[in-house]
């Protein structure tokens, strides 16, 4: 089992990112609304996922406002799919 992905908040983050078409990035506040996290909590979990190579963050400015966007990496997509398969295997008694 992938302990990094399986943590409940990180699992939600990965599921939310995986649902975006074509590997698009999502802005931090929007991701926060989707997974219903606080700023600090979300930031910490994204840092963990980034260290593992599962997500990548991009920081830039939109006008004068700083913007952080998060996208899933190909490695993250593969590991997430593997983890979901692992969960299905447990449910179906194959795990």
């Amino acid at each position: 089992m992938d302990e990094i992905i399986h943590q409940p908040m990180r699992l939600k983050i990965m599921a939310a990112l995986n649902a975006l078409p074509g590997g698009q990035a999502i802005e931090f506040p929007r991701l926060k609304s989707i997974v219903e996290a606080t700023d600090g909590n979300l930031g910490a979990h994204i840092a963990t996922l980034e260290t593992a190579g599962y997500v990548a963050t991009e920081k830039d400015f939109l006008g004068k406002k700083p913007r952080t966007r998060i996208r899933m990496t190909p490695v993250g997509r593969r590991e997430f799919a593997r983890h979901v398969e692992f969960l299905r295997d447990i449910i179906e008694g194959r795990g």
């Binding site: 599921a15 999502i26 609304s33 979901v84």
Partner: protein
């Protein structure tokens, strides 16, 4: 660490919930320019129809063409952003547009609504589409659908003398604000 089947079910439920919310929020963001555009078109179309009642046909014809071109461009832009994952979207949009155009023209040819009747018919169709779409994609679409229906029916039955103006200002304004509401989701 090992998991029980119940824990795995709970984890997959979380995955599904996050996936649905992510799709809904993405969809809100992508569709918000279209909803704002509709608000502006309604304002122009209903306002101009009120000022020039005999020119309703050409006014809405021109708006239909403008809507098609802009919607196609919006659709292509979102397709390009989504890269390979969404290549069929522009064609799907074309088919949807043609389907509704044929449906509206056929229904109008059969039932021959005039003036306010025609002005209420298309918004009610749009309201039904949004309400149904919301059941699959996100509750905000259903809220838009119900809102359009209530405003349209309210104007049609309670303000028949000023229905077109009502739709221009209240309907167009409400759609524009709704588009901004979707963008902020």
């Amino acid at each position: 660490m090992s998991l029980t089947p119940d824990q795995a079910v709970e984890a997959l439920r979380d995955v599904e919930r996050a996936r649905s919310r992510s799709i809904a929020f993405y969809s809100y963001r992508v569709s918000s320019p279209q909803v704002i555009m509709w608000g502006i078109f309604w304002f122009i179309g209903y306002g101009a129809s009120d000022l020039m009642p005999t020119k309703g046909g050409p006014i809405w014809g021109a708006i239909g063409v403008a809507w098609f071109i802009l919607s196609f461009l919006f659709s292509r832009r979102s397709t390009q952003k989504a890269a390979a994952g969404n290549k069929g979207q522009a064609w799907r949009f074309l088919v949807i547009y043609l389907t509704f155009t044929v449906f509206i023209f056929s229904t109008v040819a059969i039932m021959r609504p005039r003036g306010a009747e025609m002005g209420a018919f298309v918004p009610m169709l749009v309201a039904a589409m949004y309400t149904i779409l919301g059941l699959w994609t996100g509750w905000r679409y259903s809220a838009i659908g119900v809102g359009i229906a209530v405003l349209t029916m309210g104007g049609y039955f309670f303000l028949p003398a000023h229905f077109l103006l009502w739709m221009a200002f209240v309907g167009g304004g409400a759609l524009t604000l709704t588009g901004l509401w979707l963008r902020g989701a």
